[in-house]
Amino acid sequence: MTPILEARGLSRSFGELRAVDRVSFALAAGEVLALVGENGAGKTTLLNLLLGFYRPDEGEIALDGAVRRWRSPADAEARGLGMVHQHFTLVEPLTVAENVVLGREPRRFGLAGPFDRRRAEREVAEVAEREGLPIDPRGRVAELSVASRQRVEILKVLWRGARVVAFDEPTGALGPAESEALCETVRRLARGGRAVLFVSHKLREVLAVASRVAVLRAGRLVATLDAKGAEPERIARLMVGDASAPPTGLPRPSPGGAASPPPRSRGVDEIVLRLSDAACRDDRGAPALRGVSLALHTGEIVGVAGVDGNGQRELAEVLTGLRPLDAGRLEVEGVDLTFARARELRARGVAHVPEDRLRGGLFGALSVAENLALGSPGPLRRRRLVAEAAAAIRAYDIRPPEPGMRASALSGGNQQKLLLARELGRRPKLVVAVHPTRGLDLNAQALVRARLREAAAGGAAVLLVSFDLDELREIADRIVVLCAGRVTGEAAAREATDGRLGLLMSGAAA
């Protein structure tokens, strides 16, 4: 079979960094090629090169055997290439059909002539019907669920006549059931004769959907394997390039195996946090938590699993005083703090590692020392601040070790170290950590997990919110599952299989 799309020795550098380094592969109709690799391995850059968002420094792209140079993404799109972005690019107040046709609207007399809305709606309905992606073209995007919004993104690409469809981390925000539905859509696209590029770091999912797996490491294509019979462990080693590195992101071979942490010893088993029948609303005023009760003990790490948008964010905000409770009660070490704000909760020993570290946790425009100083109250003493900053920089190995450096100039891993230094350096009683390893490389991830374990070993109770079930199983003692603002179940980490958690996350087992 002749390939539709071919990459021949593609390279692209950003400054010193060679993001994509002489990558070649071929993609045929009817096949799903998965691109896997660590963060920063060059997956997204490669997609951007193929789709015309970036220009390659070297190498060429061939479509149906003919060499093409994309002048713009629109150019690639006109030739039948389309991308479903990781972050949706939808206009909420517009309808589904308007979003799909935006930029190529059916029209009668030019741009300022009448917009043929009826034709747009008819065509979108037809494509949706044909591709098995049912949706109301007249519905407003603002009212759609995450999975439906992704459907609109896919429709955008298909309505434009894409023969090659690229997916960039498409299941990041989806639950198990929705992920499975997406995988079925992807397989259907391939069966229908399209070629699919599928970027993901979830190996199980990749093996379920792909025909072949291409592994990227440090910008290079290190291997291409047939998905059939490929072992996840082998792929993970190829990704990391280091046989000794812990194969995170993988289903562990057996619970309590070699990679599991040493058994935690607990001192006095006291309850640090008690949350009873908590209810609150989200930013739009809809109920987000509907009667959540939790108790965390000293030295314990409790994982919170759930599909994005089922109350995890609001739970973390309630516990850290950033969101008021409508009902229920919050106690830390027996003190009623139901009505306390962030400042008071912090003074009581609650630490917060928020999900969006640079915007939500750190102050990019301020120095490392100033970021640390903002962690605890009291008047400013310049000399003491610098001394404390130097100590924290040493203890958390923040590089480069410059107290006067702007936080925004640090790398992502070092920013997270700075955040941990500020939050954990105060010896907190309760740590609320939300996706603390997201976007970090494997070494930084391991470091963050070690710090959280240390905090627990030092007597803190840790609440860890994560989408990464393997991570939760690795370091949590037990996992509670949130669905639609309720705790739908709880399991000891070693008993929490994917099947059981998936059932709980979908609310089916409640």
Binding site: F53, R341, P377, L380
Partner: protein
């Protein structure tokens, strides 16, 4: 350039850019003046004489610089917290009318009367600022819009109600003395250089204000928390900074500072010790320019206020027959400078060209170029 030297240069850049912008603005104005067939050199000389040549001109310069310093701070201090106070004009007017009222109505010995007038002015301006802060904190109203609206509410209420109504000078016949009653002489700011110059204690207040603002922003926890708020509101909430309270405090402080500028101008004799009818000097709007040219830094504000205060005072001499220019040239230069500060990314592009060639040799990776979909300017 070594990486270290380059880093040092980049660290100073935010302060150097406005200097470059002002220099370029003056250059452009000089070219324009020459194109009109007038002499830029004569103009510069006239500005120098008019602004700095002797105690009389110095007095005029210091009156204007004092007002500009305070309205500049009124914008710069909230700006540290990411808050844009466009309301300095209304706050300035509110401060001036409050000082005019107290200075005329109360019978107290000098220092006390001046203190009372300044306190009343500060309170009036702070109330306007706090209202904008409250609306932002409690109802999410953007401070830019609310301070603009409050400007005109204050201006219209003062102009078309207080000055012509309750506070209108009653004794005198309305023709020669339009406006409010003049303040008592006890409320006049002490003159520093004799009766021939309007150089007065206001300039000392300005120096004090600049110093206090600099210490507040750089050395106090309030200042750190304010700058933290400016860097990221979300992170500020995370670390427990009371964002609403800081917003209200910062805007109230800004309002109070602008009002002090108005009060000191009035008590320093800048408007004949009374609030005149149809008062139109745009010191408050100019404060935005001063804060931008001063890079939002109190010391920068002081320098910008001093420079443009002198130019404003010197501008009267531009109309001398041998110079033959309009008095609005300093304002034109100020406008051009602010346009250049606003477009500083383009300015930076100009002088960074030689730096860029070295970039590949430096250790730090360059940021990813923007995608082709939207080419850079």
């Amino acid at each position: 350039m070594t990486p270290r030297a380059r880093a040092r240069w980049l660290a100073q850049e935010p302060l150097l850019l406005p200097v470059l912008a002002v220099g370029l603005a003056f250059g452009l104005c000089a070219v324009a003046i020459a194109a009109l067939g007038r002499s830029p050199l004569l103009a510069a000389e006239a500005l120098w004489d008019g602004g700095l040549g002797g105690l009389g001109p110095l007095g005029e310069s210091s009156l204007k610089a004092t007002a500009l310093a305070f309205t500049g701070l009124a914008v710069a201090v909230p700006y540290a917290g990411g808050l844009f106070n466009i309301g300095a004009q209304g706050q300035f007017v509110a401060g001036a009318i409050a000082a005019a009222w107290i200075g005329a109505a109360l019978d107290l010995p000098g220092p006390l009367l001046i203190g009372a007038a300044l306190a009343a002015a500060f309170a009036a301006g702070a109330a306007l600022g706090a209202l904008a802060g409250f609306l932002k904190a409690s109802r999410g109203v953007h401070e830019v819009i609310s301070t603009i609206l409050l400007n005109w509410i204050a201006i219209h209420l003062v102009d078309s109600w207080l000055v012509v109504g309750p506070l209108h000078a009653s004794g005198s016949s309305g023709f020669s003395h339009s406006g409010t009653e003049a303040v008592r002489s006890a409320a006049h700011l002490p003159l520093l250089a004799g009766p021939d110059s309007r150089l007065n204690a206001g300039i000392l207040f300005a120096a004090l204000g600049i110093l206090a603002a600099a210490l507040l922003l750089r050395r106090s926890r309030f200042g750190l928390e304010l700058r933290a708020l400016g860097a990221s509101e979300k992170a500020a909430r995370t670390v427990g900074i009371p964002v609403g309270a800081r917003t209200i405090q910062a805007l109230a402080l800004g309002g109070g500072l602008a009002a002090l500028g108005g009060a000191l101008l009035l008590l320093g004799g800048g408007t004949d010790y009374r609030f005149p009818e149809n008062y139109r000097d745009p010191y408050g709007f100019d404060g935005i320019a001063i804060a931008l040219i001063g890079a939002g830094d109190p010391v920068g504000v002081a320098l910008a206020a001093a420079l443009f205060g002198v130019l404003r005072a010197g501008a009267v001499r531009l109309q001398d027959p041998e110079v033959g220019l309009h008095r609005s040239w300093p304002e034109i230069a100020q406008g051009v400078a602010v346009v250049l500060v606003a477009g500083q990314r383009l300015l930076r592009g100009l002088y960074r060209l030689p730096l860029r060639q070295r970039r590949t040799a430096s250790a730090a990776p360059a940021p990813a170029p923007p995608p082709l979909a939207s080419p850079p300017a």
